[in-house]
């Protein structure tokens, strides 16, 4: 019996028997999502997953340095974080790097995706493996590699803003573009290549076909990939920690140095801002990544 049929049976039973509110609708054999203990377990997992972050965000509005008992609503820690010049500088650095890294890695990643989607070439499996490598190796290995690399080639330090962010941006692009490539390639897997052939048959050049046929289809994947790259870059701590210098502190690196001293509501406030930005970007990304509705196709 299929799931649909099981669901159908459940509905019929619900309709035929006039069930009272105290009588439980008996779960079908495969309706594991309706077993109470499994439900409680999953609910507990989600609670544990979210409780720390939600308390962090709630207590950023708490009018007490002790940070554990609710004393009253205040936004003074946001004001204090806003007036913390080095924190704001770090935040601007993070945003600048994220924007630059997003633009570059979206272009490179989309090109790699198109390459892997369209062509058959010798050593393709190995090439795919190498492009996935920045995703799979431990972050710390990549961090120390970047540190050693920029030290070895003598990457100039102490340049004017924003040129001094170059090293971090390069490192971020290196781990962001493989993610973009995966997202865009997944999108392209659903592309009907007959459209491309039709375009060529009708006399369009390679560029015109790309511009007018492939790109419009690819766009949601590119946007989703760009948003993914943006949050990855904005959030990265480990790799940035190894590539940043004293005058190129990013937001996570700054928060790290603040956390090492103590747990303060100010850090809560700053973190809350970053979490909210991340969540907004994620929701947009999920929206763009969602498959087309049947009405559109």
């Amino acid at each position: 019996m299929t799931e649909a049929a099981l669901g159908e049976r459940g509905r019929l039973r619900g309709a035929s028997a006039t069930r009272r509110w105290w009588q439980r609708d008996v779960a079908g054999p495969l309706e594991y999502g309706r077993r109470l203990w499994l439900r409680l377990f999953v609910a507990a997992v989600f609670l544990l997953l979210y409780a720390p972050i939600i308390t962090l965000m709630v207590f950023s509005f708490n009018d007490s340095r002790r940070n554990i008992v609710w004393q009253g609503f205040t936004t003074k820690y946001y004001v204090r974080a806003w007036n913390n010049a080095s924190l704001i500088e770090a935040f601007i650095n993070s945003l600048t790097i994220a924007v630059l890294a997003t633009v570059i890695s979206t272009i490179i990643g989309s090109m790699v995706a198109l390459l892997l989607w369209r062509f058959r070439f010798p050593g393709k499996a190995a090439y795919e493996g190498f492009t996935a490598l920045p995703i799979v190796i431990p972050e710390i290995c990549m961090g120390v590699a970047m540190l050693a690399f920029f030290a070895r080639i003598g990457w100039p330090t102490g340049m004017v803003w924003p040129l001094n962010l170059g090293a971090i941006t390069i490192a971020h692009v290196a781990f962001c573009f493989p993610f973009v490539a995966i997202v865009v390639r997944a999108r392209m897997a659903g592309f009907n290549r007959e459209l491309e052939e039709a375009s060529r048959d009708l006399g369009a050049s390679e560029w015109q076909t790309f511009r007018n046929v492939i790109l419009p289809y690819m766009r949601p994947g590119v946007v989703a990939g760009a948003l993914l790259a943006f949050t990855l870059s904005l959030d990265d701590f480990v790799i940035t920690f190894f590539t940043s210098g004293p005058d190129t502190v990013t937001f996570p690196v700054k928060v790290y140095s603040m956390v090492r001293f103590s747990v303060t509501p100010e850090v809560n406030a700053a973190s809350t801002v970053l979490v909210v930005i991340t969540i907004i970007a994620t929701i947009f990304a999920v929206k763009f990544q969602a498959p087309d509705r049947p009405a559109e196709t």
Binding site: L30, R120, A145, T278
Partner: protein
Amino acid sequence: MDNWREHRAVFWILAAPGTFWLVVFFLVPLGFVWLLSFSEKTGIISIALTGTLENYARALEPIYLEIIWKSVWISAVATALCLVVAYPVAFVIAFAPGRWKTVLLLAVILPFWINLLIRTYALIAVFRTNGFVNWGLEFLWNKAAFMLGLVGLGGLMGEFRPLTLLYNNFAVIAGLVYVYMPFMVLPLYATIERLDKSYLEASLDLGAGHWRTFFSIVVPLTMPGIVSGIILVFIPCLGAFLTPDLLGGTNAQMIGNVIERQFKAANDWPFGAALSFLLMYATFGALALRSVLAGRRQGMEL
């Protein structure tokens, strides 16, 4: 799919930037570290490539071997806990009705997007001496003492002593499970979702209970997802730096912390490079193992 020879210009235009970036800003830096791991320090900042294996030999000294061993078992425990916690979650999501499925999946993925540092920091507030866990325990303790006091046994409970939950192995394992759980749920969900549900029905119809069906049918059939999940969680755990640094303090150091110290405070890059390449070899080993297992699986099905 087109043959690259037929559209050489397009092929090279598409291939050039990605390949350039990958080679120059990823493979070359890794190559540097690899060479560093065979080098010797000849001065404060000068390093000479001598082809020595001493850095790897040093990693086998008892003090470092102990840290490596500790990293392995902490990662193994964290991975096992992730599996136990994530399996039911993935199972429920896979069997949930359509609309719920999307919501639950998003709820699993969302924490993964939130900054690792912030998630770890949030745990400090939960675990520290006057954090939420101890606060809750103290509350319960005082209530219990009050109740016992009513029947004249008030002295039995004594003073509440907060638990030390931070800066030990427990905190690191809890932190790793908390941070990497989504990595386990997603591959498990993907395989359970694809599972042919009629096998489950057949097993149940033939009289096997739910547990037996689970262990004899569901677990073997979802083994690829289990293996993927284990690798996806175990590798980042093994290389974790931030979680042991913030939650483990000096008492629960892992390989990541030792590597960081070699590259920053201790300034012994060749040794740090050797340690980070040991991590890389472990990663490659795990990935090779997965492809071997996947290959054998395909062979079985054919």
